[in-house]
């Protein structure tokens, strides 16, 4: 279904389009929301609000360029709004700054590593911990969620796409050594396997 068709369907209150949009994005939104808080119920409430708003024309939709990034932005607004209101009573559910948008390299789940690999991987993990929260968020949105620079800027409330590109480049370079060792492992492994 194209972006235009989805928007039109939602505007007309078409429930099959709503269902499609929900199926398509709800798990992504839930993962995103859970980066800010451990309170699953709160995240679900926020997602509920966002979907009801978009399907009852409470927001002007002609400005929406991409459904996915709109949903992310709206969910973020909801979550921050609720978290701010509950700030004092709900400290245990708020995540620490270093837990938000924690990055993992999928080699960990894809390969069984031996001791020497594991040691190197631990170094990489430490390097990842050092990069800032904003850098991690931008990197995950870019490489995992597949957003464009412009969309990331909207989600993170940044003024221009340049600052997004900078966040990604700096974060990536901080992780550089680690990622390269891992990438080389993988490629060597793949070559051995094939050859």
């Amino acid at each position: 279904m194209s972006h235009q068709e989805i928007l039109k369907g939602l505007e007309n209150g078409d429930e099959s389009v709503l269902s499609y949009t929900y199926h398509q994005y709800v798990q992504d939104l839930f993962r995103f929301g859970c980066q800010f808080t451990n309170d699953r119920e709160l995240v679900m409430d926020c997602i509920h609000e966002v979907f009801v708003a978009i399907s009852t024309r409470q927001r002007k939709q002609n400005k929406i360029h991409s459904i996915k990034s709109y949903l992310f932005t709206a969910t973020y607004r909801q979550i921050i709004y609720h978290l701010k209101r509950r700030k004092f009573s709900d400290i245990e559910n708020r995540k620490n700054n270093h837990e938000e948008f924690d990055i993992e390299l999928s080699v960990e789940t894809r390969l069984i590593l031996d001791e020497s690999h594991r040691e190197k991987l631990n170094k990489v993990k430490k390097a990842i911990k050092k990069i800032s929260r904003k850098q991690r968020q931008a990197i995950l949105h870019y490489y995992y969620d597949g957003f464009l620079h412009e969309e990331i800027a909207a989600i993170m409330g940044l003024k221009n796409t340049n600052s997004v590109a900078k966040l990604i480049a700096r974060g990536l370079r901080a992780m550089k050594d680690g990622i390269i060792t891992i990438a080389i492992f993988l490629i060597v492994d793949a070559c051995l396997f094939l050859g």
């Binding site: 839930f30 859970c34 390299l105 999928s106 990536l172 990622i179 390269i180 993988l186 490629i187």
Partner: protein
């Protein structure tokens, strides 16, 4: 061409490159293949950059489980409907107010008050509409359970199975979440679909009887129809997408490991025999027979590693005690055994 001088980092940052790795399309695919052909010395950079992009993921990746998933969607749908009907009433009332405006300010205030009340009544509504009370029924290993749902439908639960469903169904959809095996006799209601949700498979009917077998972690899932017409669809989480219509004595079988669905015809009542307490094996591998017996009688087998579990066996038992079944297997030279409490110990020959 700018990419000629890019190293792997510049590539990994480039939007066009990243977009190609994450969502390859004919156009970008052609571009990068062509680029690689013209610049073979760049293949290492491209390979590395691809690995960088593909390796980054969220460390914490929570997901909605099946029940949360359905509940949240029902909630959204309910609130949406309530708010939309609220909007319609609101605008209708307003037009009349325009006409009345010149008649009397007094009336306007009255109407305003009515409107306000009506609106608050409607906004209170969502919270009551949203609350879905869920019930869970479980049939532990070694037993079976028959239960009735609020619409009069009957569900027979096989051993080691569980269902979760709303206490009262909504006007638009009847649904039930199943792990394990159950036989359904659904009351016909042409306006309300009945959906059985299970791992990988959704089964949808308007009113029929059928059997769903979807134990959690099982390698095959089966939907078999006794009466009427049934739709079997993949769930959204399933990587394999399929949709089949089944008629009486047709079965859809999903092989989770191979990732394929087979639709076939079957004869006789064998697939439904368990609902009448009949245990039937038709050339079943011993491994499956043992799994079935463990559930049926609530026992555990030990020492199965010493026997050939792929050998097939047949047999039919009518509510017989475990000993009878084991003796039958023993007489077919499957194994020698000893029963100790809730354990069946397989003895080495």
């Amino acid at each position: 061409m700018k990419y000629k001088h890019f190293d792997e980092w510049q590539l990994a940052e480039d939007e066009y490159f990243v977009n190609w790795v994450l969502r390859p399309e004919a156009h970008s695919d052609k571009f990068w293949k062509q680029f690689l052909e013209n610049n073979p010395e760049k293949s290492a950079e491209i390979l590395l950059a691809k690995e960088i992009v593909a390796n980054i993921q969220y460390a914490s990746n929570p997901r909605l489980d099946q029940i949360e998933y359905v509940k949240l969607f029902e909630r959204i749908l309910n609130s949406k409907r309530v708010r939309q009907s609220a909007n319609v009433q609101f605008s209708g009332k307003r037009k009349r107010l325009v006409w009345l405006r010149y008649a009397a300010i007094f009336l306007l205030i009255c109407a305003g008050a009515v409107l306000y009340q009506r609106q608050t009544a409607l906004t209170i509504n969502p919270s009551t509409a949203e609350k879905i009370e869920l019930l869970t029924k479980e049939s532990p290993e070694g037993s079976k359970l028959t239960t009735f749902l609020s619409d009069g439908s009957k569900v027979i639960l096989n051993a080691g199975s569980k269902i979760t469903y709303p206490k009262t169904f909504s006007d638009s959809l009847r649904w039930i979440y199943l792990t394990g095996e159950a036989f359904f006799e659904i009351k016909s209601d042409s306006t309300r679909l009945f959906r059985v949700k299970s791992d990988f498979v959704n089964t949808e009917v308007l009113g029929t009887s059928f059997n769903v077998k979807a134990y959690s972690g099982a390698t095959d899932i089966s939907v078999a129809v006794a009466e009427g017409k049934v739709m079997v669809k993949s769930t959204h989480e399933s990587s394999l997408q399929f949709e089949h219509t089944l008629l009486p004595y047709q079965e859809a079988k999903l092989d989770v490991k191979k990732g394929e669905v087979v639709k076939r015809e079957f004869l006789g009542e064998q697939l439904f025999a368990w609902t009448k307490w009949k245990l039937i094996f038709d050339k079943e591998p011993l491994g499956k027979v043992i799994q079935e017996l463990e559930r049926w009688y609530g026992v555990r087998f030990e020492g199965t590693d010493t026997i050939n579990t792929s050998e097939t066996y047949s047999g039919s038992f009518d509510n017989d005690p475990l000993k009878v079944v084991l003796e039958a297997l023993k007489s077919q030279n499957a194994f020698n055994y000893k029963i100790i409490g809730k354990k069946v110990l397989i003895l080495k020959n």
